[in-house]
C-alpha cells in the first residue's frame, strides 16, 4: 500500500507525478494533480475513490445553488445548506459510528433486560481521509453561504481542493481561501521550491522513521502490557506515546507540506512548537492547528454568535453579573467544539472522554483566568518570570501526557486503570530491571531516538526563538546549507527504521 513514508510514494509516485506535471501544458496541470490524487486514493481505498468523486460533485453543485439562493434572498437557501451539510456529515457518521452505536445499544439492552445478546459488527469500508475532506467540504459550503468566498465555477478546482494527494490521508485540513492562490496556480517547477520541499520531506522522514517508528515498538509493548506496569513506567508510557505521536504526526505533516511545496503549493502549517504553549488553550492553537481552526471557525464562532448565546449574554449580564455570564457563555461555545473533537477522532468512548477532558480543562482555565491574574497581582507574583513560565509548562505537560494516555489506551477502562496505576507503585523495580531494553528495541535504537530527539528539540527551541528554521537555512551560505542537507539526508538513510528487521508502522492519524 502507498503511504507518505514508503518507497512507492517517495521513489516512484512523487517523482512520476512531478514529471507528468512539468511536461504537461500549464492549463492541464490541475488535471494531472487530480489524476495523481485519484490514483493515490485508488492505491489505498480501491473503488471507494468514487465516494470522494461523488462528494466533490455534490459539494460543487450545492455551493453553486447556495450562492444563487443567498444572492436572491430565497428562503430555501437554508434548506439547501442544511441538506448539503448534513449529507456528507451524515455519511461520515454512518460509516464511522454504526458499529459503535450498535454495540452500545446492544449493551444497554442487555443491561436493562438482563440479556446476553452479542452485537455482530458490520463490515464497513471507510474511504481513506474521509474525516479530513468532509470537514473541508463543509467549511467550503459554509464560507460560500456566509458570502466569504464565491462558489467555484470550475468543477476541476473543487475536485483538486478535496482530493489533493499530499493532504488526503492526514490533512492539514484546507480552507479554500487560504490555499486557492497556490493550489490552482499550476506554476512550473522551480529549483527553490524543489529544494525547500525536498528538505522538508527529509526533515519529516527523520521525525517519522528515525524516531517515531522506533518509539512505536516501545509504546505498543508498554500499552499492551499495561496491567503489569505501575508508577514511573506508566508515566513513561504516556510520555513516550506523546513523543511518538508528535514526532509521527508533525513528521508526516512535514512530508505532506514538503510534497506540496515541490509543486509550488503552500499548505497551512499544522504544528507550531506546541510544547512551548503556556496553557491547554494555547496548546491547541499550536497542535493540529488546522483541526482546531476548523472547529473555531465553523462551530465555536457560529455558536458564540447564535441567538441562544446572545440571549443568554444579555439576560445573564443583568441577572448574574459578568463573571458567571462569561463562564456559561464559554461552556455553551466550548462544549460542542470538544464533543465534536472527541467524536471526530473515532468511535471510542476514550476519544469522547479525551474531548470532554480538554473541555473541562480549557473551560476551567478560561473562567478562572481573570481571578487568577488578580490573585497573582495581589501576591506580587510576576507571571512573566522564568520560574513561573516553567511551572506553567510543567503543568501543561502533565495535562497533555495524561490526555494522550487516555487517547492511546485500548479503551476507557484501560485508561482509568493506567491512570490509577501511576499512584499504586513506583515502578522503580521494573526500570532497574532493564525494562527499557526488553521492550522490542536495543540500546542502539535508544541512542538513535535520543540523538534524533535532541536535534528536533533544539530545532523547535531555535524556531520558537525565531533564530533558525529550514526556511532560514536556505538563505545561508552554500557550504553550511549543503552540509546540513547532507547530514539530514544521510541520517535518514542510515538511521531510518526501515528495511530488514523493521516493520512498517501505519500512520496514526490516517486511521481517524
Amino acid at each position: 500500500m502507498i503511504t507518505y513514508t514508503n518507497e512507492i510514494y517517495l521513489v516512484f509516485f512523487l517523482p512520476l507525478t512531478l514529471l507528468a506535471y512539468e511536461i504537461c501544458p500549464k492549463r492541464h496541470r490541475g488535471k494531472v494533480l487530480i489524476a495523481a490524487s485519484y490514483v493515490f486514493f485508488y492505491l489505498i481505498s480501491k473503488w471507494l475513490f468514487l465516494y470522494l468523486f461523488g462528494v466533490s460533485v455534490f459539494i460543487y453543485l450545492a455551493a453553486r445553488l447556495l450562492e444563487r439562493a443567498r444572492r436572491s434572498g430565497k428562503r430555501y437557501g437554508k434548506i439547501i445548506l442544511i441538506f448539503s451539510v448534513l449529507l456528507p456529515v451524515g455519511l461520515l457518521l454512518a460509516l464511522k459510528y454504526t458499529n459503535f452505536i450498535g454495540e452500545n445499544v446492544t449493551r444497554l439492552g442487555n443491561l436493562l433486560s438482563g440479556g446476553t445478546a452479542v452485537f455482530q459488527p458490520w463490515s464497513i469500508l471507510l474511504p481513506i481521509g474521509i474525516s479530513f475532506y468532509t470537514l473541508e467540504a463543509v467549511g467550503y459550503l459554509l464560507d460560500v453561504w456566509w458570502g466569504r468566498i464565491p462558489a467555484e465555477k470550475s468543477l476541476e478546482k473543487v475536485l483538486l481542493f478535496l482530493s489533493f494527494f499530499p493532504k488526503l490521508m492526514e490533512g492539514p485540513i484546507l480552507r479554500w481561501q487560504d490555499t486557492e492562490a497556490t493550489l490552482f496556480s499550476n506554476e512550473s517547477l522551480k529549483l527553490e521550491n524543489l529544494e525547500t520541499g525536498a528538505i522538508r520531506i527529509f526533515w519529516g522522514l527523520l521525525k517519522k522513521i528515525m524516531i517515531a517508528d522506533r518509539l512505536a515498538i516501545v509504546v505498543n509493548n508498554l500499552f499492551a502490557n499495561y496491567a503489569s506496569h505501575q508508577g514511573l513506567v506508566t508515566v513513561l508510557a504516556a510520555v513516550l506515546y506523546t513523543t511518538q505521536l508528535y514526532m509521527e504526526f508533525s513528521g508526516v505533516m512535514d512530508i505532506c507540506i514538503g510534497s506540496a511545496k515541490l509543486f509550488g503549493i503552500v499548505l497551512p502549517e499544522n504544528f507550531r512548537q506546541p510544547f512551548f504553549a503556556k496553557n491547554a488553550s494555547e496548546f491547541w492553537q499550536r497542535w493540529h492547528i488546522s483541526l482546531g481552526a476548523w472547529f473555531k471557525n465553523y462551530i465555536f464562532y457560529p455558536m458564540s454568535t447564535s441567538s441562544l448565546v446572545k440571549k443568554w449574554t444579555k439576560t445573564g449580564r443583568k441577572k448574574f453579573g459578568k463573571g458567571l455570564t462569561r463562564a456559561v457563555t464559554s461552556a455553551l461555545c466550548l462544549f460542542p467544539v470538544w464533543m465534536a473533537n472527541g467524536i471526530w477522532h473515532g468511535a471510542k468512548w476514550s476519544y469522547i472522554f479525551y474531548g470532554l477532558y480538554y473541555f473541562c480543562i480549557i473551560l476551567f482555565e478560561t473562567v478562572t483566568e481573570p481571578y487568577w491574574k488578580k490573585g497573582m497581582e495581589k501576591l506580587h507574583i510576576n507571571m512573566a518570570a522564568p520560574w513561573y513560565r516553567a511551572g506553567q509548562r510543567v503543568k501543561l505537560l502533565c495535562i497533555v501526557f495524561t490526555g494522550e494516555m487516555f487517547f492511546r489506551a485500548e479503551n476507557l477502562h484501560v485508561g482509568v486503570h493506567m491512570f490509577r496505576s501511576i499512584f499504586t507503585g513506583s515502578g522503580m523495580a521494573e526500570l532497574k530491571g532493564h525494562l527499557l531494553l526488553n521492550v522490542g528495541i536495543d540500546i542502539d535504537d535508544w541512542n538513535v531516538i535520543i540523538a534524533g530527539l535532541i536535534v528536533v528539540v533544539l530545532y523547535d527551541i531555535l524556531k520558537e526563538l525565531n533564530v533558525f528554521s529550514l526556511e532560514k537555512l536556505r538563505a545561508m551560505k552554500l557550504p553550511v546549507r549543503w552540509s546540513a542537507y547532507y547530514a539530514l539526508i544521510f541520517s535518514v538513510i542510515i538511521f531510518g527504521a526501515y528495511g530488514e528487521g523493521y516493520q512498517a508502522i501505519d500512520l496514526i492519524y490516517a486511521g481517524f
Binding site: S281, F300, P302, S306, R326, T329, S330, C333
Partner: protein, 77 residues
C-alpha cells in the same frame, strides 16, 4: 475608537493596540478574546455581529474593528 480601545484594554491591557496591525494573525487576541469583544461591541454600539463577520480581517486591529462597527451600524440604521 476610544470605546473600542477601552473594551480591548479590558480584555487584555498588555497589548499596544495603537501599533498592532495583526491582533489575530499574531495570536495576540485568542478566540475567547474575540467572543468577549463581540459581545461588548454589540452591547456598546447596539449592533448585531453574525457568524459571517467572524473572520480575522474584521478583528486584526482597531481600525478594522471600527470599520466593522460602522458597517454594522449602517445595516441596522
Amino acid at each position: 475608537m476610544d470605546t473600542i480601545l477601552s473594551i480591548l484594554n479590558d480584555i487584555d491591557d498588555t497589548i499596544d493596540y495603537d501599533n498592532e496591525p495583526r491582533l489575530i494573525d499574531n495570536h495576540l487576541l485568542d478566540s475567547f478574546g474575540v467572543i468577549t469583544l463581540v459581545s461588548e461591541l454589540e452591547e456598546a454600539f447596539n449592533i448585531e455581529i453574525d457568524a459571517a463577520s467572524m473572520v480575522p480581517e474584521n478583528f486584526n486591529n482597531v481600525e478594522a474593528i471600527w470599520n466593522l462597527v460602522q458597517r454594522k451600524q449602517g445595516v441596522s440604521a
